[in-house]
Symmetry: C4
Subunit: 290 residues, 4 copies
């Protein structure tokens, strides 16, 4: 229990921060889900392909118009199938970072597989851009001690966890935190009967605008995460522009990338630094709970 947490020291005289991040999943979660063989239906694939056809370019054009550099997390297979994606993002000054090779869901992936996918992704990024990526976000935002050790070994920051409103350090890895509440997919994603119905665009605008203000007043980080094929639709890009445009003109807010947040965090002296507990299950504490 922390009764008095220190104010997080933002650089450049700023008193809060905001980041526009994109998980460029495209069709990769569908490939992962059907990794043993694809069904004959095309509907989900066509739906997801909207991002590479129209959505992502519209989103990037908006960021350029507003003057924001975004952070784009790209699974290896998406970069492989869209060879002008990573170079195009870099040319426009955006950050690119890792997001698994086949959007591997952690609970369905061995430690060795994670390491192999991470290294294959890095190799692909290097071959397409000439640069080694320095950041990672986990598909579906899960994390394990093994993954943290590998991120530390490869000197990658992470952006997958929710344990604070500002960057922190976990097992020697710099963590740039995310939040489900500020993710478009859990509100808008709809792929067929049984899914939750999408929430109105303006409802999320109001909710996120409220969080933007609260983070400004409390000195936190507003981290938004959107997806190419979900929020690339015209009305949503307009909504996101309306959300972020005022921040660029606010001298108190540091609108920046995950990488810049991570780099800054490594210079911060007094910071939250945690180690994942080795937790004893209840039944091992007291066998009578069996």
């Amino acid at each position: 229990m922390i009764w008095n947490s220190p104010t997080y020291p933002w650089p450049h005289g700023k008193t809060s921060a905001a980041c526009f991040s994109v998980d460029v999943d495209a069709t990769s979660p569908y490939l992962w889900q059907h990794r043993d063989g694809l069904p004959k239906g095309l509907a989900v694939l066509e739906h997801r392909k909207y991002g590479m056809r129209e959505g992502l370019a519209r989103m990037v054009a908006m960021l350029e118009r507003v003057g924001i550099k975004g952070s784009f997390f790209v699974p290896g297979v998406v970069a492989e199938e869209n060879p002008d994606l990573l170079p195009g993002l870099m040319e426009r000054g955006h950050e690119i970072a890792l997001h698994g090779y086949y959007h591997e869901i952690v609970a369905e992936t061995s430690d060795q597989r994670f390491t192999d996918a991470l290294e294959a992704s890095i190799d692909l990024f290097v071959s397409q851009t000439g640069q080694k990526p320095v950041g990672f976000r986990s598909p579906a935002w899960e994390m394990t001690p093994h993954m943290l050790a590998e991120l530390a070994r490869l000197e990658l920051w992470d952006s997958s966890l929710m344990g604070s409103d500002t960057p922190y350090t976990i097992a020697n890895v710099t963590e740039v935190p995310v939040r489900w509440d500020n993710d478009d997919a859990i509100f808008f994603k709809f792929l067929g009967a049984g899914d939750k119905s999408p929430r109105p665009d303006r409802e999320l605008f109001a909710q996120w605008q409220g969080d933007v203000g609260a983070q400004q007043r409390s000195g936190g980080l507003f981290m938004l995460t959107v997806h190419d094929w979900i929020s690339g639709r015209a009305a949503r890009v307009e909504m996101l522009e309306e959300l972020f445009a005022p921040l660029v003109n606010d001298p108190t807010v540091w609108v920046t990338t995950c990488g810049a947040l991570a780099a800054h965090h490594e210079t911060v002296q007094i910071r939250l630094d945690v180690t994942p507990d080795t937790i004893t299950p209840i039944n091992s504490r007291d066998p009578s709970y069996g």
Copy 2:
């Protein structure tokens, strides 16, 4: 990855488009669901029969009042059981198109069955109206390579996929795209305990109005899909009238049918033309992912 997609060329000096489409499902999905034998309960059947008794006529009267020609997708069995439905729609100048015979769900239907149902539907339409239909929408909006091949063979356009905001071509079939976000069923349909609770009419009005505006500003197509027994209720028809009436009076918007959109698309020179990929499953790319 498409970094610069061309502006879609609407005809008649228009800069965007809108279409009012109706999936006239009536009781057909219930018949399909219980194709081996019907349960004794009458509640769902009575609920669904509202459309043929009151809902569809109210909706059509509204379209006439506003001055819109709608696109009505009618399963064969619904036309068979309501023999004055197709003629009545045609007399009023609306478009009729195919929607399966028994609202066959694609994942539960063989290729041969699809072809048989399609041909039986066409025969029924011809016998009831004297005209061969030229368009198709898949029940529940699924599509397969076989279905596309059959649509091409029979020279039918399709309106079932979500890969763009404007018409496109897929495997030589003209696609007039739909969107779950602009479908009434996923927000309003409620058939009993366990279903999602219906969302407020005005919430959808605001959401759809927002999308109408965004499509106008971005040069896209606003495709609405409603159902006879869901949106035929009085308050919803009023809401739909309020949504579409301004579009008819807007000289920049082409308010038209799916068929007119498809016919125009076939004249467009620079257009999105895609082929469904034959995708190698992950495990076939790398057996260690087994």
Copy 3:
């Protein structure tokens, strides 16, 4: 397909109707669900008992204040366990009607059981009030041909189906229609983890107010259904008062009971009169659909 349905002829120069109905379920659905033995937990029972302790009396006081006679559908077991419930409602001028004995779910109940429960309920009503009830609403709003035959035999009207916006006749039974959209339970009911989260009171106020207006303009019936333990909470009774108070003062709206609606319907000459179809399942039409 009905292209021109006649305007429904309301009496007394009225042009639309409204009805406040209450399904007084109390603990009965829980007893039914656990009819083989009750779990040890008390939470759901205490939650449901709120209606008999506070909710129903608050609702009835509101109806008296506004000047409305409500229609109360009471399962036999609820009347049995609360012997001053039916007499108290009658003293205050409200209508009481049948709702199963143990809130029997139709799909889990044999034809004979339905008949037995119906007759036992009638006997109990007679013994508690001296009068034979004349109306019925099915638990969870299901209906079968057998049930309709029994309602006809016992000269009971029904209020369980959704096939029209105004009273109709089905298999010689007068039907006073309901709608899921105007039921409180599907929006507000929450009994524990896994249930849908309750929707805001004011969201339903706006939605129902919208439907009230649409029914007025289209000449339909606004049938509201609430439950003792769900909408008896203070804020919801205030909301319901705000919804209905204006109707009482509107000379065009017939605010009345289900029984009065049914009695009027029996005098209507041109009316919707339907027979439940004997539907041939698809597989019996064409065995290849097996």
Copy 4:
């Protein structure tokens, strides 16, 4: 059936009451869910740890700013792992009370286990604070006759049930009632795919503000329940402050703790006093219902 329930007599000339309660669950429900062994993923744990790192302190600072004493229900294991939690709350004048040892879910816990966990929690509270706690709230708000008997034996009040809008007595235990409708978790909690999407902060503000007013007008208790890791986020604490600040300045509202409500209730003469029924299951009433 109670036709006329007496007005509840609040003390100090107040005409209604309000209470800010916190279920300080932290990681305990996750430990319980995985009591046989923890999965390798860290995401849920990090998400839940937000409360002990930032959320609870922010919430407590708000209560101090507004001038409210809150009621904090703390599982034994959370107190054990955060030894400055209970003392820190007491120093600031807040109430602490029991909430299981490992957040034991009642349906998964034997009577003996409940007693053992209750006594171990009391011992821990005494060892950390020097005082025996006097109140209890059940994890997930379930209750059994055995639990009530144990609470009576140990002279603990309870705050877990929903049978009234004001304190009542059940099996000789004072009950300070809760409501799902006024619990943050069922609206905001999101731990991964499949969960309901979070509702907007301002939607709950409006809903709860509506209930605050209705309880004031009807003389009831507004009991709010929030969680450390859910509502400790900056925007939600602001929202809660906006909700409660006006109450503190309202001379008609008794803003107080569960303990003070319980102590007052024990002095009330005319009060709701119920005994959990021994309910005969339907099948034992009539074996033909088997």
